[in-house]
Amino acid sequence: MPPLIEAQQIVKRFGSLVANDHVDLTVAAGEVHALLGENGAGKSTLVKMLYGLLQPDEGRILWRGEKLVLNGPRDARRAGIGMVFQHFSLFEAMTVAENVALALDGEEPLPRIAARLAEVSRAYGLPLEPRREVWQLSVGERQRIEIVRCLMQDPQLLILDEPTSVLTPQEAEGLFATLGKIRAEGRAVLYISHKLEEVRRICEAATILRGGKVVARCDPRQESAASLARMMVGTEVGSVRHDAAEPTGPVRLSVSALSMPPAEAHGVALKDISLTLHRGEILGIAGVAGNGQDELFAALSGERLAPRAESVALDGTAVGREDINARRRRGAAFVPEERLGHAAAPRFSLSENALVSGHAANGFVRGGFVERGRMLGWVDAVTKAFDVRKGPRDPEARALSGGNLQKFVVGREILRKPAVLVVAQPTWGVDAGAAQLIRQALVDLAKEGAAVLVISQDLDELLEIADRIAVIFHGRLSQAMPVQGLTREALGLLMGGSGFPADDAAPGAAAREREPA
């Protein structure tokens, strides 16, 4: 019997870049197949061709042994291929059932869709209320809508792109159970991820891409995470050297009883947040996206002023009413989550982007005039210290790959030798090599006496580099707990809201609060 889907010698070029170079991929029915690779390895390009969003330049796709030509996602769905994207395409103001109806190609009446939806969500253990509006739902629930509406089209192959990156460990467990049921029915799953432990648990085959080529095929259950990483990166990935320790030094950053209303209609209110961060310490803030991380970053950096000066203190000085540049002059540095558009202006050169965060405290400005030579020197220094790979000396920020731009925006701050560094998602969407370099730099910075606050959704990252971890949920912050003896399960429960005051833990409560009065 021929395999369910077979991609043969697929080539896809974008200008001079060969994104897929004679790639072969075979997925059998009833198989959960992992597609592994670093950012830019060609995973997304390949699955976009399997879903009809792109057309291959060379090669062919066989479906149960017969040639398949996909001119668009509609063709793919008709053939029996479904895909759940990393970024959801849902209308917030519409109900779950309406969102599903929009995605179905047929002309089924809404009540029938709602009934079928309820049936499918029960069968696969994906609880959903058809009549709820999407804006009230958590990220995990939104992902369930995407999966359910895929399953309602009865696909033989389900493609999932980084599905667990937005889930708590418990939600991820639920997803794995669902995948088990899908596999048991003889459907196949193509699972894109860079979380190797997860791939080892749930996948029985893996295809590994590097630089647009297939470099290995293996059974991940027979491999270790380290050996998988080696195949992905091509070289040994070093681990970060860090000995977690109880904090002892003086307090460099403290937040006390910080409460702030949301800045915009769908924002999160910060409620009574307190934390202390000592010299030489890394404090991790864990939590599912959208629980107040952005708001906390804005309050710590001074992009939004706190209601009281005492709410935020740097080295014992109350700075809650000072703006971001005043805090920089006191030795604080900040790296926001969004690389392009927030940390860096996409169409500005790197030297001008050095000026974005450096004009107040780095001596780039004299008498109102910009000192271009010094900025360029700074770019060179960051490039050297953080191995930023780029073509010209001073390219536009958007010309850099994600990992290299991230190294630049992190390096830009670390090179200032800050007393306090607040960084959000330091390695989001960054390849393994760059992630390791950035994490090591954070650890080294703390070792030299800085206090580092890391806001991250990546639990593995926090467990690797933090000394203590606190969890943020619906705008409240838990106690910070030493990492020794801390388990993923315990963190996962906190991230899901258990242990927080009940008024916040009620489903949809936070969402309702966000409604403008």
Partner: protein, 357 residues
Amino acid sequence: MRLILEKRAETPLAMTIASPLIAVALTLVSAAVIFLAMGQDPWAALHVYFVAPLSDSWGLQEVAVKATPLVLISVGLALCYRSNNWNIGAEGQFLVGAMAGGWLALATHGAPQGPWLLPSMLVVGAIGGALFALIPAVLKTRFGANEILTSLMLVYVAELLLDWLVRGPWRDPQGFNMPVTVTFEPEAVVPLLLEGGRLNLGTPIALLVVAIVAVLVGRTLKGFEIRLVGEAPRAARFAGFDERRLTWTVFAISGALAGLAGILEAAGTVRMLQPGISPGYGFTAIIVAFLGRLNPVGCLIAGVFLAITFIGGENAQIMLRMPLDVTRVFQGLLLFYVLACDTLLLYRPRLVRSAAA
């Protein structure tokens, strides 16, 4: 086959220069078609429009006189537009500048005047324009009112105010009931630079302004702030720049430059106040700003080009009996093509075989 637009990774420098040139070329082609439709020989008409104004000293001086207000206003507008502040009301700021500076000339009329008068008029005119421009700026930052609407509506306020002044309190008693003020006294008039033309001190002032603004945008932190706020507002907040204060600043600067252009026009070319001292300079300058790529030196080049169409339009009216509206049509077409060609900066057009099965 169908045409698709692909997003570019980086804007090529050649395209940045080519885009306005393509727009100009398309405008000329469209102009030729319009001339043909009006029963004119397109070559002869294009010659009258675009070549004749540059063929003698008088014509060249006229071009400079027309370009001066356009350049002054558009350089200020470019600062606004770069920082996402859509000041559409430069025409009104121009008129208020003319009225504010003109008030000083009229108030001292007949009294002993000195060399201080003209500089004071220019300063008062600039301040008047700046204050008038701050109205939409404050409405925007304080109440979230759309500055496109408010600045545009204020143009009519300024026009009607001028109309009322020259028909009422400021009317020349000896003016045979015409809606004009007295002619300014010599001390209140911008000095001419050459014999046999109307070129005056306003033109070098405009060149100086272009140089100053070019340095401001390219070399100073304030210029960086203006560009960053427009390009990446969140990064500007991360840089600690205050968007509200910047809105006030750029509106004040562009209002001051429009006001300066207004008083230079009133005291230089017209030498009195009357309705219609501006043939729409404030609106044409919007085209100039975009044609000049929101760049001060680009505004200078674009201002000269648009000035040629004004002079060419007057020539065509006299020599070919063409209505002056044709000039407006050209200017509108030009703005349309400029904005359309900007698409080429961000996207690459590509023909693909039809994907439909």
